[in-house]
Symmetry: C2
Subunit: 199 residues, 2 copies
DNA sequence: CTTAACTGACTGAATGGTCATTCACCGTGC
DNA sequence: GCACGGTGAATGACCATTCAGTCAGTTAAG
């Protein structure tokens, strides 16, 4: 009796926030900018979110969970580390291409926001990373990936590499083929992670 | 007649800004926080910098140039792509370890600040990246590195990977060995970039 | 069917607090 | 005395947040 109509407005506000935060950055963006973009009054935002910071928090929460869920599903459908990694990153590329503004907000604001909502953002991000560490470690223990490097390090490397790749794609307003670059990146990593023949 | 005595104060302010921005983030930090940390009056900052934003800009400028100069020097002293890359990253690790707060500000604020001082920050960063692209492309043309991947993509990948690695080291207050992780990372990349035997 | 209360989502002008920036005024050295 | 680096209280903007009021709809009564 309330959820049905309100959820529409809450989502309108979230979508507007993504757009505005992507364009100006969280700190420069005004709450009234978000309100205008969403087509609601300034005050309405406070019926759905406790504060400007809470708006950003809500944005992270809903979307990161979606991404994490997706990655979680990959391991079930693929068995080799190589095909899992390949699937994770190609899903990520699809996400970035279909929602570039959201991708921009998640990657850019996550860094700065660590400063004011530490535990929270770090936890969501940590969960994402942990899934990748598991995939790597699993691949190592099956002998599919070299064992002389730390799974944690590899996960960070790969995440950092793909994160930078997508961010620069988004910021440059896609003047090149992200999918192709992603494939190249994956090839390099997979070749670099082959078990040493001496093992 | 002014530079000699003032440069001391200007540097005090810059160093204080690094400390404060690293701890709270640029937007949350107050100009008066920087003044207190530097041991000067609020107004004094405006004798050396036109605005709060200009302070951040000055910070980028001086330090990025230093980094770029360092990278530029590497190519002269090393001839193979592998040893150049190895040297660039080990210099970078030294930098991060000796000035973690500065490293944090440069990497975190560079992203968000792209929003309000676009061309400027992007140019400095672009110059840095271009040097790496050159090293890669040169290695490819000599047959030291595989040619079936774009030099631009490889440069971004490597930068992203090392950037993420150092950032997470800085943020986690160094609970692990950055130098070791960096070496592992480099090994993976170099193995992954070996020319295909079929070539 | 009409009118009268009532509800609660929504509105946006007003409030209050928070700084970046300024500038009238020191004190020290020449 | 004056020139100048330095000072820090005062100023003025700028917003996040609030809240008194509007309005569309819903029920209740006559």
């Amino acid at each position: 009796m309330e959820r049905s109509r309100t959820s529409d407005k809450r989502n309108r506000i979230l979508r507007a926030a993504v757009k505005v935060f992507a364009a100006k950055g969280f700190y420069v963006a005004r709450v009234s900018d978000v309100a205008r973009e969403a087509g609601v009054a300034d005050g309405t935002i406070y019926l759905y979110f406790a504060s400007k910071g809470d708006l950003l928090r809500g944005l992270f929460e809903e979307n990161m969970e979606r991404l994490i869920e997706q990655v979680r599903g990959v391991s079930a459908k693929h068995d080799s580390a190589a095909s899992r990694l390949s699937q994770i990153w190609s899903d990520y590329v699809v996400f970035v291409q279909s929602e570039p503004e959201l991708a921009e907000v998640l990657t850019v604001e996550l860094r700065e926001s660590g400063k004011f909502m530490n535990e929270f953002a770090a936890d969501l991000f940590g969960a994402f990373l942990r899934l990748i560490v598991e995939v790597i470690a699993d691949g190592q223990s099956r002998g599919e990936l070299r064992r002389d490097v730390s799974a944690r390090t590899v996960a960070r490397l790969m995440f950092g590499a793909f994160d930078e790749l997508s961010l620069s794609w988004v910021m440059s307003k896609n003047k090149w083929d992200l999918e192709r670059s992603g494939k190249e990146a994956l090839t390099i990593f997979l070749d670099g992670l082959r078990p040493k023949t001496s093992e």
